[in-house]
């Protein structure tokens, strides 16, 4: 089975400090990899590096078995959702379609596709509203629709629920889980919330101080932490 994305010997330094050092990380097609770790573990650096928004000093990132792809071409095969929805000062529909516009998709088609995904994310009734007048939960739903509408081969999510209140977060997590299951979108989901990781991830990677200490099915990781640091982070004991 070919990994959709495979990272080898990756080194990222910022201001002469090593912030990320990953020997090997592979994500198979259709998999949802939850990357967990405390604040400052390097999760967001990993996220930005995988999105090719941050340069790495050493190592390779293969996408679909190849490394030779222009940054623009690569970015047009992925989609990302950040912690803040970062919607544009435009209507909800225009926001959902913005990535399609970048790809030169005709307006009629992009409107239709945006409409479909706004519907799927439960915000179709807000399509003509200004994005500035949405609640936090609604904004994040639009942000997710804006990503899914691109039918990305790889979806990168960086703590997309952090700013939301608990009930909104729970509902959105459920909806996202069902969309991911339905579309089989390969996803890397960055979070510091273990329950979210367990809920959404088909596999989990524990990241501490810029290194991946353990990967495996969430249940497996919780039951058998690889070392003391992982056990400490998970709040379990070595088993």
């Amino acid at each position: 089975m070919t990994a959709l994305i495979e990272v080898r010997d990756l080194l990222v330094r910022r201001e002469k400090q090593t912030v990320l050092e990953i020997e090997h990380l592979a994500v198979q097609k259709g998999e949802v990899l939850a990357v967990v770790g405390p604040n400052g573990a390097g999760k967001s650096t990993l996220f930005l590096t995988l999105a090719r928004l941050l340069k790495h000093e050493r190592g390779t990132i293969h996408f679909n078995g190849t490394e030779s792809m222009s940054t623009l071409e690569y970015r047009r095969r992925i989609a990302l959702v950040l912690q803040e929805p970062l919607l544009l000062d435009a209507s909800v529909r225009e926001n959902a379609a913005v990535g399609l516009g970048f790809r030169g998709i005709p307006k009629a088609e992009s409107d239709r596709r945006a409409g479909h995904w706004l519907e799927r994310m439960g915000v179709a009734h807000l399509a003509d509203r200004s994005a500035r007048r949405l609640s936090g939960g609604e904004s994040q739903r639009v942000s997710l629709a804006r990503a899914f509408v691109l039918e990305p081969e790889l979806l990168l999510l960086d703590e997309p629920f952090t700013a939301l209140d608990a009930p909104t977060r729970a509902r959105l997590l459920e909806d996202l889980k069902s969309v991911l299951a339905e579309t089989s979108t390969t996803t890397i989901f960055i979070t510091h919330d273990l329950r979210e990781a367990e809920r959404l991830g088909t596999r989990m990677a524990v990241m501490l101080k810029g290194r991946i200490h353990q990967t495996g099915e969430p249940r497996e990781v919780f039951a058998h932490p690889a070392d003391v640091q992982v056990a400490e982070f998970l709040g379990t004991t070595l088993g």
């Binding site: 928004l53 989609a79 990302l80 803040e84 970062l86 544009l88 000062d89 990535g99 994005a131």
Partner: protein
């Protein structure tokens, strides 16, 4: 007051053209200063910010020296022509448009750029999206640029020479009438200047506020 119409027309033509050229210079330059990462960026921003407060008479002096018959650009015979006024006013307005463009773009969330790239934007598409996002302060920059030149008198007087029928604009005409003690004419010209400034800014404000979603 028979010459009021040509004076007003020349004022508008000169100042609008200078503002337009300033926009063509200031929008890309302000964008590079706001988004770029290079060693002298802060220094250049300080120069631009200082340039926003350039006294028009200093600009007038500099441009006059350049365009003077014996000056380095004297062969072009531009001194005391409307073109000379446009050059001087462009030097006055360009830092205003550049500085306010940079400020407008720096006010946007820096992560918005990452988000746009992450949605597949090319560099040009990213910049266009940021301009669209900052359209209200960018139009304010345009208004400030126009305001800085339509109201200035020092540079227009020094490089234009206030020649009747050729380089006389509203502000230089006001100075002339005041120096002659013709206060009624000066007041009439002032009211006219204020009115057209208001009308131009009103039109830009309508465009600006229509941009609010």
């Amino acid at each position: 007051m028979a010459d009021l119409f040509p004076i007003t027309l020349l004022s508008l033509q000169v100042s609008m053209l200078a503002t337009l050229i300033s926009l063509l210079i200031g929008l890309p330059l302000g964008t590079v200063l706001a988004l770029g990462k290079f060693p002298v960026r802060s220094f250049l921003l300080s120069i631009i910010n200082t340039g926003m407060a350039l006294p028009p008479v200093v600009v007038g002096l500099f441009v006059a020296m350049m365009l003077w018959r014996s000056g380095p650009l004297g062969d072009f015979r531009l001194i005391y022509t409307p073109v000379a006024i446009i050059i001087a006013q462009t030097i006055i307005a360009a830092p205003v448009v550049t500085g306010l463009t940079a400020a407008a773009l720096q006010q946007l969330n820096p992560r918005l750029r990452l988000q746009l790239y992450g949605l597949g934007a090319s560099r040009t598409q990213m910049v266009l999206a940021l301009w669209r996002e900052a359209r209200l302060p960018l139009l304010a920059a345009l208004m400030a640029g126009f305001g800085s030149v339509i109201s200035e008198v020092g540079a227009s007087m020094m490089v234009g020479g206030n020649i009747r029928g050729q380089t006389r604009v509203l502000t230089t005409a006001i100075v002339l009438e005041t120096s002659k003690g013709e206060f009624e004419r000066a007041i009439a010209l002032s009211v006219f200047l204020l009115t057209i400034t208001f009308l131009v800014n009103w039109a830009l404000t309508i465009i600006q506020q229509r941009g609010r979603s």
